[in-house]
Amino acid sequence: MSVTTEDASIKPDPLIMAKVKPAPIDRPPLVENNRDYAWITDKICRIVEEKTPTWWWVCFGVASMTASFTVMGLIYLVSTGVGVWGLANPVNWGWAIVNFVFWIGIGHAGTLISAILCLLKQKWRTSINRAAEAMTVFAVVCAAIFPVFHVGRIWFAWFLFPIPNSNWIWPQFRSPLEWDVFAVSTYGTVSVLFWYMGMIPDLATIRDRATTKFRRLFYGVFAMGWRNATNHWRNYELAYLLLAGLSTPLVLSVHTIVSFDFAAAQLPGWHTTIFPPYFVAGAIFSGFGMVLTLMLPLRAIYGLHDIITQRHIDNMCKITLATGTMVGYAYSMEFFIAWYGANSFESFAFVNRAFGQYWWAYLTMVSCNVISPQLFWFRKIRENPAAVWIISIFVNVGMWFERFVIACTSLANDFIPSSWGYYSPSIIDILTYFGTFGVFSVLFLLFVRFLPMMPMAEIKMVLPEADPHHGDNDHH
């Protein structure tokens, strides 16, 4: 047990302590430069309260224009038919499923930061969890676009839900795709609930500072009359812990079920039991990549260096390194099993992945996902925000290619060589996907501008003076 215990109720025996003479463990503080409560409130509220900065309008304009590609792509798809995408036999799951899995995976780091790190009492999560949760919600929005429009006749999308159709037939629950409907919609809903509940005390802070009537009304309504009473906090903290406890199995199950979409099929390259853990590790990996991509610029723009410290970036880099290495392990294990399983179709599928017609996608995937995060072993790299940001972009690119490799290489070259094909996306595919980055950015910019970007109450809680026993153990 650590001697620098943070729980004051466990007091080490002074006699033992005198004998052991524990060395103090110097950990960098989570909030630097001895900032106080008021500074934190002011810093974070001001982002919402100040005049909209010019850079925001520029980014918002660019993001809206980018988002219009998705809107136009979808309008064209609905009015013409799903054939405007590059889907053709034998690859009938093209970019749509790739983009869906990509975006859902991005979301997972948000839940990991807010839920799993909360259960593990990792206090450093406080300054990044709100933005990461927002990222989750918006990534799920982007993800949901693809399966919904992939059905082609969008006006029948309600067939997915447990509502009888015109022939009084219900959805059939033996299909992993139906499980996916429940997994993704639950994930989206619970992520919103968790995100919203975490925001209530901070919305109340903005309400209490409000100088305009609109702000008092807008933040007041959503703050639900929160009064910061200890009784409120008591129920709130337990509810938060429970939601974290519920989100943890949820986030693990969602990508597991997403991987069932593939793993339950008979196709070589998809039909493997390694998929659930491998997908979950990949999802967390890509999500941390995205968190870094988003937080580093925000930190620079708003001067949040005292709250998002080098320690935070270090930890995120290390998790990216760990999960990236896990993903690399999964890649090699897939090859081992393909050989060890002695199934000629299976071993062909993997040799074909690496050296077949999609070799370039496989190479991109391995170099971005396995090789590039290895740079995080070096402190010099982790301490260089520009380098971290560039590597995080590599991670995003690599993870998109991973889903492409899995979905397309397996479908393009299956059992019978006469039915092989080569999948190329159409321009509509490309623009629709490109546009989702705009959709995501529009939502994220609105979040940054109008909602508390960081959980003020939680950051105040990790200050040393927030501990009611602060200073009690100093004389030991």
Binding site: D36, Y37, T41, P162, P164, I169, W170, Q172, F173, R174, P176, W179, F182, A183, T186, T189, V190, L193, Y196, M197, P201, T205, R207, D208, R209, M224, G225, W226, R227, N228, A229, T230, N231, H232, W233, R234, N235, Y236, E237, L238, A239, L242, L243, L246, P249, L250, S253, I257, F260, M456, A457, K460, M461, E465, A466, D467, P468, H469, H470, G471
Partner: protein, 179 residues
């Protein structure tokens, strides 16, 4: 307009001070009082004599409802109302719909948790006498306060004020209520 006294509001300068003050206020036998802090102070609820929160009951109720509902739903749709033979697979087992049961379990448990928290906190409540007081609003920024209400049987404006000042309150003021 008519104003009534609502209570006495005492401000403390640190989490440590309010923690010890709460222990004393409780010892002194006050019952209608509450502390307000911009962040949850570890152990303050216990110091005030509050029991463990009852939110988990709502979570459990939600979770059980979700799990049962999903089980019944799949059974009703795929085995009772319109059995559809798909590859000779059974119409109902507990195995294949498990992901659905699992997700619905989590979904309703999460709703139970959130709404349970609201219910136990008696929220939403947008109007509260304390909100009328400008300095109370600082409680969501950096102020830690204890409010002892007038309706407390032990309340006496002079005595209680003195008591709070002795506990180390930096500032004690009367909060009024709009009638």
């Amino acid at each position: 307009m008519n104003f009534n006294d609502y209570g006495l509001m005492a401000t403390f300068s640190s989490a440590k001070d309010i923690y010890h003050a709460c222990l004393k206020v409780r010892e002194a036998g006050y019952t209608k009082w509450e502390s307000f802090t911009p962040f949850p102070v570890h152990g303050l609820d216990k110091a005030m004599g509050m029991s463990r929160s009852k939110v988990p009951r709502f979570t459990l109720a939600g979770g059980l409802t979700g799990f049962t509902m999903a089980t019944l739903m799949v059974w009703f749709m795929n085995a009772y109302d319109y059995p559809l033979n798909v590859g000779g697979k059974p119409f109902f087992t507990y195995i294949f719909p498990f992901p659905v049961m699992y997700e619905m379990n989590i979904l309703l448990a999460a709703f139970g948790t959130l709404f349970g928290m609201f219910f136990l906190n008696r929220l939403p409540r947008h109007h509260h006498p304390l909100f009328e007081n400008k300095s109370f609003l600082k409680c969501s920024d950096d102020r830690l306060t204890i409010v002892i209400e007038v309706i407390d049987p032990n309340y006496d404006e002079e005595e209680t004020r003195k008591f709070l000042e002795n506990l180390g309150a930096t500032d004690v003021e009367v909060v009024q209520e709009d009638n």
